[in-house]
């Protein structure tokens, strides 16, 4: 449990987020720890909820982290649930982008679930807040999550699903957002992957297709109002061909060597260099993949 001082915002108070009033059953009191202003000054129009699978792929985690980072950098508040996987990645990204970020918890705002996210919880408090409709100290229960999801959906103008299997809690959040007439966005994945099923179903049903923070900002604020795109340094032809082979699915030095028809040692060198420059990233299973950093044209 965190030592941070808890605060409350009651329904009817000026600081109570107006967006929550649109819920059929608005929480009577919001308990929070961390920076009270993160909630009191929350602008519904500039708030995004990012949720997704607890068991995400490296691609999903990277997308969530980049979204969190770029959106926070553009001044958007990132709301999520502090769970394993996508939630944690979105918070981390938002913290890296300078926050603010709000974690909506199932138990008391100081009861960290999963417990191993204590460190992340502390970081969230440093640049935002953790909130809940339950008083501090309340244990997390299995049935408190769906109720928590409705608060996440209500707070944000747009709810983005990064990866989610069907059926799942993330899809419930998306459904709640639709019921509240909020925007829903989904990050596409690879066809056939279980965790891509949820987002693909959402996109088919009319959710916005999200490829990066720019798509979110365009959707929320209108096309071209705010720009966050950035590109990396120029690459030599050899590195470009390695980058292309990564884009085509070669994910280890040996596979890249075969695909780009170069020496395996050179492939390792090239991948290391591309990683240093930020064009590729490696997941915990050692697979290389492309980041969203775009290469300048040749």
């Amino acid at each position: 449990m965190s030592r941070a001082r808890a605060w409350t915002i009651e329904r009817g108070a000026v600081a109570y987020p107006a967006a929550l009033e649109e819920l059929p059953d608005p929480p009577p009191v919001i308990h929070g720890v961390g920076d009270r202003r993160a909630l009191a000054d929350l602008e519904h129009e500039a708030t995004v909820t990012i949720v997704g699978s607890r068991r995400a792929t490296a691609y999903g985690l990277r997308m969530a982290e980049e979204l969190g980072r770029d959106l926070a950098y553009a001044g958007v508040t990132v709301v999520s649930g502090l769970a394993y996987g996508i939630d944690a990645a979105a918070h981390r990204g938002a913290i890296a982008g300078g926050g603010p970020t709000v974690a909506v918890l199932g138990g008391g705002p100081d009861v960290v679930y999963p417990p191993s996210h204590r460190g992340l919880h502390r970081q969230v408090l440093a640049c935002g807040a953790a909130i809940s409709e339950h008083p501090p100290g309340t244990e997390t229960t299995k049935w408190s999550f769906p109720a928590r999801n409705r608060i996440m959906a209500a707070l944000a103008k747009m709810t983005i699903i990064v990866e989610a299997a069907e059926p799942s809690g993330s899809l419930i959040t998306a459904q709640r957002a639709t019921e509240l007439h909020r925007d829903v966005g989904a990050v596409p994945g690879q066809v056939g992957m279980r965790v891509a099923g949820g987002p693909h179903a959402l996109i088919r049903d009319g959710a916005a297709l999200i490829r990066g923070a720019q798509d979110v900002l365009d959707e929320m604020l209108g096309i071209g109002r705010v720009s966050v795109s950035h590109s990396g340094p120029r690459l030599e032809a050899a590195l470009l061909s390695v980058l292309e082979s990564v884009e085509r699915g070669a994910d280890t030095p040996d596979a890249v060597a075969t695909a780009a028809e170069i020496d395996p040692h050179e492939a390792a060198v090239a991948l290391g260099r591309l990683e240093l420059l930020g064009y590729v990233a490696v997941n915990g299973a050692g697979a290389y993949s492309r980041t969203s950093l775009s290469a300048p044209g040749v």
């Binding site: 991948l271 990683e275 930020g278």
Partner: protein
């Protein structure tokens, strides 16, 4: 040895003799002197000085051995004392010394025969002498203590002679009669140390087909003495690769080879004469306890880490090891030795090994992202925390291995160990000149700063990326040390951008 007749009352016909022997504690031999007093009284044979059960039973062996080799067993009151009295004596290695002291005290061996001689051996009931553990450590100790010769069982003699001490091998108790006379057996010849380090039993890297990245990682690990972690599904060749690492390592120097024999001998490992000079390779099963891995128990014994001294310690299925066992490896990895302290004594064990570990990507082995993986999220996390824990900080090279494609398996064999080893030796030579006989993995922070200079392009490349990586100070130094090894392999003085990039690609990454 001394034989003294206590002076005050000649009527008390008690005769005293004392003989040097040794007791092994950890990997060191400690001096023990055996004093035997034969005097009047009811015939009995008592043994004092903290003997354990095996030592207490030595009375029966000594009695039978004496009688069966044509000596008399005195029908008098015999007291044998093992000094120092506060050191626990274990094992049967004291038999020979007790028998010798008893023979001297009862006037059956001349005092000159045992003068300046230390003895160690186990007795058989028929008077034969059996080998004991730790003969080389005892011989080194005997030499330092200024003994004229060490008498051991014949099978121990070649090992003990590596110490440079005069070692006399005997097979039967009655041969003690020849000591100090013209019939004394010649000093034993020391074992031959293979100087190229390539024992006949070493596996060859040519067996590993395909897998260029894995081969390269082994070469770099061998060249810089770097610790290596391989993560990949079963059947990817992780164990196969690890078992071939000793064939790439430089040979042991003669003093190192002697040290390895001494440690293995003191730990009771059977001596394989064919492999003296070959680096040890130890692969303990993952059910091993912390004490089994780094040493422990009471009295403390050396563990696998010590047996892997100057060689390779291979931990297959790293996350399956007990947490306390993995944690216990921290100090040895940092310091190259481990201190085991017990109430009675503290021993220091050498364990300067190269760590090679292998792990599956998740408990089922398929990998979290594979469609056939059905591991629960929590068990994957628990599995991976073991990989991120204390040990991960001390791993230089990390590599993800995939199952090789069928085409590669059918293809021609890869480079042979001998070819790769030549490059490794050249790279080691460069390091030895720079670091005074040590390798890159052993560089301190200060040495890393001094020797791992980046050229301008490499520095610019690193500056462009470090922010996004979150390389910790330690992680950064590890990357630099690996880059240094890569530069040594390429024969360069400075680290260029290519080496830096390759080192970044091989670095240890935290799983998500």
């Amino acid at each position: 040895m001394r034989v003294t007749v206590p002076s005050p009352a000649p009527s008390v016909a008690s005769v005293l003799a004392s003989v040097q022997t040794f007791e092994i504690l950890g990997v060191e031999a400690h001096e023990v002197s055996v004093e035997v007093d034969v005097g009047r009284g009811l015939p009995c044979f008592s043994l004092v000085g903290l003997p354990d059960a095996a030592v207490r039973e030595s009375r029966e062996r000594v009695r039978a051995a004496l009688l069966n080799s044509g000596f008399d067993f005195p029908q008098e009151r015999i007291t044998a004392s093992l000094a120092p009295a506060d050191l626990r004596k274990a094992g049967p290695g004291l038999d020979l010394a007790i028998a010798a002291a008893l023979l001297a005290a009862s006037g059956q061996l001349s005092p000159e025969a045992l003068d300046g001689v230390a003895l160690s051996g186990e007795l058989a009931l028929d008077g034969g002498i059996r080998p004991v553990a730790g003969a080389l450590a005892m011989a080194e100790r005997a030499r330092r203590a200024g003994a004229r010769a060490l008498v051991v069982a014949n099978p121990n003699s070649a090992e003990a002679a590596l110490s440079g001490a005069t070692v006399i091998g005997v097979t039967r108790l009655e041969e003690l009669r020849a000591l100090g006379t013209d019939d004394e057996p010649a000093a034993a010849q020391p074992l031959h140390i293979s100087t190229n380090g390539a024992g006949p039993s070493l596996l060859d890297l040519a067996d590993l087909r395909g897998q260029p990245a894995l081969r390269r990682a082994l070469e770099v690990a061998a060249a810089g003495g770097h610790s290596l972690l391989m993560i990949g599904p079963p059947g990817a060749g992780k164990s196969m690769a690890a078992r071939r690492l000793p064939s790439l390592l430089p040979p042991l120097t003669p003093p190192e080879a002697i040290e390895v024999v001494r440690v293995a001998g003191a730990c009771g490992q059977p001596l394989r004469t064919a492999s003296v000079g070959v680096r040890p390779f130890r692969a303990p099963h993952h059910t091993i306890s912390a004490a089994g891995l780094v040493g422990g128990g009471n009295p403390p014994r050396a563990g696998e880490a010590t047996l892997a001294h100057r060689g390779v310690l291979f931990l297959d299925e790293l996350p399956e090891y007990r947490r306390d066992a993995i944690e216990a490896l921290r100090q040895p990895l940092e310091d190259g030795r481990v201190l085991i302290a017990r109430a009675r004594h503290a021993i220091e064990l050498p364990c300067n090994f190269q760590l090679v570990a292998a792990a599956n990507p998740c408990p089922c082995g398929h990998g979290e992202e594979s469609p056939s993986c059905r591991c629960p999220t929590l068990s994957i996390r628990r599995y991976q925390t073991k990989l991120t824990g204390a040990l991960a900080d001390r791993i230089d090279l990390s590599l993800h291995v995939k199952q090789p494609e069928a085409a590669a398996l059918r293809g021609p064999p890869g480079e042979r160990s001998a070819t790769v080893r030549e490059r490794v030796l050249e790279a080691r030579d460069r390091q030895h000149c720079r670091l005074g006989g040590r390798c890159n993995a052993e560089m301190s922070s200060r040495e890393t700063r001094e020797h791992c200079r980046l050229d301008a392009e490499a520095q610019a490349l690193l500056d462009s990326g470090q922010g996004q990586f979150g390389l910790s100070g330690r992680g950064y130094e590890r990357v630099l040390r690996v880059a240094r090894t890569l530069a040594d392999l390429a024969g360069r003085d400075r680290i260029e951008a290519d080496e830096l990039s390759a080192a970044v690609a091989m670095r240890r990454r935290a799983p998500v």
